[in-house]
Symmetry: C2
Subunit: 326 residues, 2 copies
């Protein structure tokens, strides 16, 4: 494969001139530029992105660190981030932290050694202060971290919308079904919004919470249906994620009890399965969250002013799971 | 940040010696190695992965090119590929081709310019001959391409297993529900296996196929339920993917017709939703496909002998959707 040296030789100029033309084209004469371009074409020269990264101290690579990829929120986010990066001339290096704090830090070190221009992260650990120690910009998604720019959905308002929708469907004893998450993750805000909105209507929200570690289809199903048997007064369910609703209401017990049709249900996320199930849900714009995060990161990389905190709106999608009661 | 020059100075050796120690440690004396390590620690030296890539002509980066990421098969594959790459000292650069041939080729050029050591690809286009033109190794996933090593699931046998399971559940007029895919994609083999196995039992398989371009929840639902109304003799459904089954059998019409409980159904893939729905399905080992593909690629990169064609087994998971008829 042709190198920059071959190009210089063929064009009859110095290697430094070729390099200058590639990095600061405005300082090279038009005549010389033409000669070099001709040589490049004849030799089918492909600039070496790695060498240019070293030269320019810019790799045009963005790192994305996620707890896992194999989950609808993260795969949609990754899809949007890749697309937006590509459209703006950046490549994506993808790292999975697997919900281990050491691995999250290790991924940052690896990305740093690979001279990424910046990192997007969905951090999952209490102590995220290490994120501030890097020379390159970092943008946090789905979590606010002091000193780090962040992109969020309006989870609190999403909780309010869910409460209002269940109340409008006649619910006076709603239950929140979900997993116990740390305070800094978005679930907490959803619960707050839901409970506060209920309070405004003189209603007290109930809880059916599963420990995050023991979360799994069987545990979730058994916990929920046992809870519903013991608490026959429950007349509405707010599932903290569409995937929770999908697990609870596509199973044999859902058919057997017909619970899905007897009381109003609201989900959260707006995944496709909510459409399949005709589940009313709070839609959060995951693709746009990814796009905004890349946009903020690129602005930071390029030394421009970027938002420090950006909250995207959520909205209620009304479907049969609540409409049939209204 | 300390450079290799600072390390050489502090250790009192030449830059070439430090470089040699990093790339071919066996040629440097133990005494010198110790001196260099000490200097590195004192200076908190972090090797520059980009510079090393240039030096060693090896970046330890693997590219993964997928049509999209936001779909269960590809997000699971990506998750497994990232994990396996990391465990073997490689980083993952992720590219989405978005089902455009030009973009697939463009992604290869970008990855080439970034000096990846090799590429894994789920290619979606008739003419994939360009894949052979690269200097670095390429491994194809889910598709056989002449001259390119490939990792496949045993789709043909999966089709046979699905047919057998429906027949064992009493089906004499089964239908295949799916989208029309090009010959080189795995769906074709699934259909072949299904039809041939039916023939062995003197049964003719029926087809309810949706054009790939117009595939979407509403079209799928309408096409299927209209087909079933017009063909009341149908007594078994083979969904070519679990996601097709999920779209058809979680909707209001599924509840209204109770079709899911009236006739045996078999899916394909083994996604979580098949467990939630108690859907019998043909499980394909997606994670292992990703791992094997990375393993083959690394062997190729390192100049070792790697399989040219690798087919992973599929297996039937029996659940209520067929068990209730047996």
């Amino acid at each position: 494969m042709a190198t920059i040296i071959d190009v210089a030789e063929r064009a009859g100029v110095s290697v430094a001139t070729v390099s200058r033309m590639m990095n600061n084209p405005e300082v090279v004469s038009e005549k010389t530029t033409k000669k070099i371009h001709k040589a490049m074409e004849e030799l089918r020269y492909q600039p070496n992105a790695v060498a240019r990264a070293l030269q320019q101290k810019k790799s045009n690579i963005i790192g994305l660190v996620l707890p896992f990829i194999d989950y609808a929120f993260f795969s949609r986010l990754t899809d949007a981030v890749e697309e937006y990066c590509h459209a703006h001339g950046y490549k994506l290096m993808l790292c999975k932290s697997g919900e281990h704090q050491e691995r999250e830090q290790e991924m940052f070190s690896i990305l740093q050694a690979n001279k990424v221009d910046g990192i997007l992260v969905c951090s999952r650990f209490g102590d995220a202060s290490f994120l501030k120690d890097y020379e390159f910009p970092v943008v946090s998604i789905e979590r606010e971290i002091e000193g780090i720019p962040s992109v969020m959905a309006d989870d609190y308002y999403g909780g309010c919308l869910a409460a209002n929708e269940l109340i409008a469907a006649g619910s006076k004893n709603p239950v929140i079904l979900g997993s116990q998450v740390p305070d800094y993750l978005p679930g907490t805000k959803r619960i707050e919004g839901f409970c506060n909105e209920c309070s405004k209507h003189g209603i007290t929200a109930n809880f059916c919470m599963i420990e995050n570690d023991s979360m799994g289809k069987k545990v979730l199903e058994n916990t929920f249906y046992e809870y519903m048997e013991k608490n026959p007064e429950i007349d509405g369910v707010f599932c903290m994620g569409d995937m929770i609703a999908a697990q609870i209401f596509t199973c044999e017990r859902a058919y057997a009890t017909n619970l899905y049709h007897k009381i109003p249900i609201v989900g959260f996320d707006g995944f496709e399965i909510s459409e399949w199930m005709q589940l009313s849900t709070i839609f959060q714009p995951i693709r746009e969250m990814g796009e905004c995060a890349v946009d903020m990161l690129i602005k930071k990389i390029e030394g421009k002013i970027a938002p420090q905190r950006l909250v995207l709106p959520v909205n209620l999608i009304k479907r049969e799971s609540t409409l049939r009661f209204q």
